[in-house]
């Protein structure tokens, strides 16, 4: 798609240099608006408990779920609260799921000295066949049994279950439903080809230099310094670059210096300082040519809890002189040229992966869209700010492009909803491992991977 648009006159490299080389102006920025205001935190206060997050999540999603329940099981079903349940009566209950997992890391078990146990090492998945699901509403909780997939669902999802209460106090589920896709947004995308480059996991600051060549190739392609007129004319159609997290590598996070004595660590510099300088130089090259949105990720120097706040511009002195650099939050929502983008740096999806039997990252991304919530496991197993007024992770409108950074490999899917929603789901791969970025075409919501592999000493090509 991208290279098919190459200008036919690709002979520039085979001819002597001309006095006036052809120039390709980049397509102008049209209609950008940043909609991630709900994810920006002003004054932060951590004196609150997390009960408020769950309470507003349930109160906010309850009307939607009651509507879905009526649409699915009939208008005359009985919607009950847990305190009003009668034994044997078929009814529908809306509540929050809680999955009791034996292997879930618990800080209390870790610090309990009387057992003298070694803390549990991090596992790829914490699911076990003996996990149990409970449904909680504002006042009570009940154990769920029956036609509900315990392994697949995670804590924090708002769900409506249809069934009846048994004699021994369990709720026998016959059917359940999630919030389903949010209402669609009107489509006003561009009529000509416009591309947005999505990349994540640049991983600067790691010891290997191979990824640096690929990063430089990426920057050269986007700024039009690579290839003949064909590639340059294609690159001129890229309107924006979004870097979805993990700009720094995990190696910069080593905390050995914290446990060492101060006189040993006096002259050492944190590994992230050098990495941020490299990031600044790379962003400078990009920002001179194209608008760039930089989202923080798991290993970047910003806060740990979701929503992560933008990187501070004093860390990037060279690049922040340009107005094309935008430092944005994680998750990030924006409207580019009439197309609504929503995405995260991947912490929500990888957290659900750990606590659910779903193995495919794209399947998990689609599931979060169907559950109507970006990150249901926050604040249970993923750090979250203690909101009290409203939960900003609830999906109220269906985005056109829903992406997730730092995936193990590239995947994309165009999802069609019953109410006319069209969503392009994109798993942006980790650039430091796969050297692959994604190009999204805003005109027809198609996505194409672009790989910048270099030849190492051990490749056979």
């Amino acid at each position: 798609m991208f290279s098919e648009q190459a200008a036919p006159t690709a002979q520039g490299l085979l001819a002597p240099p001309s006095g006036q080389p052809p120039t390709f102006p980049r397509v102008p920025v049209a209609g950008y608006s940043d909609l991630s205001q709900p994810f920006r935190l002003g004054e932060r206060s951590f004196c609150r408990q997390y009960a408020h997050v769950y309470a507003v999540r349930l109160a906010g999603m309850r009307p939607l779920l009651e509507r879905r329940a009526r649409g699915r099981w009939g208008d005359d079903i009985a919607l009950r609260r847990l305190s009003e349940l009668q034994e044997g009566e078929k009814c529908c209950v809306v509540g929050t799921l809680f999955k009791a997992m034996q292997l879930q890391p618990s800080i209390l078990q870790e610090i309990s000295e009387e057992h003298n146990l070694v803390p549990q090492p991090p596992l790829p998945k914490y699911i076990q066949p003996c996990d149990e699901l409970m449904l909680e509403d504002e006042l009570q909780r009940i154990k769920l049994d029956g036609a509900i997939d315990v392994q697949r669902l995670v804590t924090g999802t708002i769900v409506a279950v249809y069934g009846r209460e048994e004699e021994d106090g369990r709720f026998l589920v016959e059917d359940h439903c999630l919030a389903d896709l949010p209402p669609p947004l009107p489509w006003s995308g561009p009529s000509s080809d416009r591309f947005v480059l999505l990349a994540s996991g640049l991983g600067l600051g790691s010891m290997s230099g191979e990824a640096l060549l690929s990063t430089q190739l990426l920057v050269d392609v986007v700024t039009g310094q690579l290839g003949a007129e064909g590639e340059q004319s294609c690159a001129a159609h890229i309107t924006r670059v979004i870097l979805a997290g993990n700009l720094l590598s995990q190696n910069t996070q080593s905390r050995d210096t914290i446990n060492k004595a101060k006189y040993l660590t006096k002259k050492t510099q944190a590994a992230s300082v050098e990495a941020v300088k490299m990031l600044d130089e790379i962003l400078l090259q990009l920002c001179t040519s194209v608008p760039v949105d930089v989202m923080p990720g798991e290993f970047d120097p910003t806060n740990y809890t979701l929503p992560q706040q933008p990187l501070h511009r004093c860390m990037l002195p060279l690049a922040s002189a340009y107005a094309t650099l935008r430092l944005v939050t994680n998750p990030y929502q924006a409207s580019l040229d009439g197309v609504r983008f929503l995405g995260t740096s991947g912490q929500n999806i990888s957290d659900i992966f750990k606590y659910s039997s779903m193995d495919d990252y794209l399947e998990i991304l689609e599931w979060t869209l169907l559950a109507g919530h970006i990150s249901p496991t926050a604040p249970d197993t993923l750090g979250c700010y203690p909101f009290y007024k409203s939960d900003p992770f609830i999906l109220t409108e269906c985005p056109h492009v829903y992406f997730c950074g730092n995936a193990p490999r590239f995947q994309s899917k165009l999802l069609q909803g019953k109410e006319g929603q069209r969503v392009l789901l994109v798993m942006v791969p980790d650039f430091s491992a796969t050297q692959t970025a994604c190009l999204v075409n805003l005109r027809d919501l198609s996505c194409q991977p672009i790989t910048f592999s270099s030849f190492g000493a051990d490749t056979e090509d």
């Binding site: 004196c47 609150r48 408990q49 009960a51 408020h52 309470a55 507003v56 109160a59 906010g60 009307p63 504002e138 006042l139 203690p386 009290y388 007024k389 409203s390």
Partner: protein, 119 residues
């Protein structure tokens, strides 16, 4: 003067739950109390009887508002914040509560949630 004032009038009276430790925790109400104690020798007690103390019926109504489960958890936020949150979620909290909260907004007993839990 209307009534004889005692030196202990400057200590605001607190309802104490059973078994609460005397040296207490982080609440903002404590800061007010300490401020009052420190300034005792320097000037008049800050709570001069120019504002009438809120009547027990009002405090009872506010307490019932705190404990009603429909409007969500009551800890860690002011009553006005809880009222506005309930309003935005469409739970229609009673209007007189908001009027009372705005009327007595400078009285920490009224604005913060009921202290019966001890935290």
């Amino acid at each position: 003067m209307e009534q004889p004032r005692r030196i202990t009038d400057s200590f605001p009276r607190r309802r104490r739950g059973p078994g609460r430790p005397p040296g207490r925790l982080k609440d903002r109400k404590d800061k007010n109390k300490d401020k009052d104690k420190a300034q005792l020798k320097v000037r008049e007690c800050p709570r001069a009887p120019s504002q009438p103390p809120p009547d027990p019926a009002l405090m009872e109504m506010l307490r019932r508002f705190d404990l009603s489960w429909e409007y969500g958890p009551c800890s860690g936020i002011t009553r006005l914040q809880r009222w506005e949150r309930a309003q935005e979620l469409g739970l229609s909290p009673p209007g007189p509560i908001r009027d009372a909260l705005l009327e007595h907004r400078d009285n920490p007993d009224v604005t913060y949630r009921w202290d019966g839990m001890g935290w």
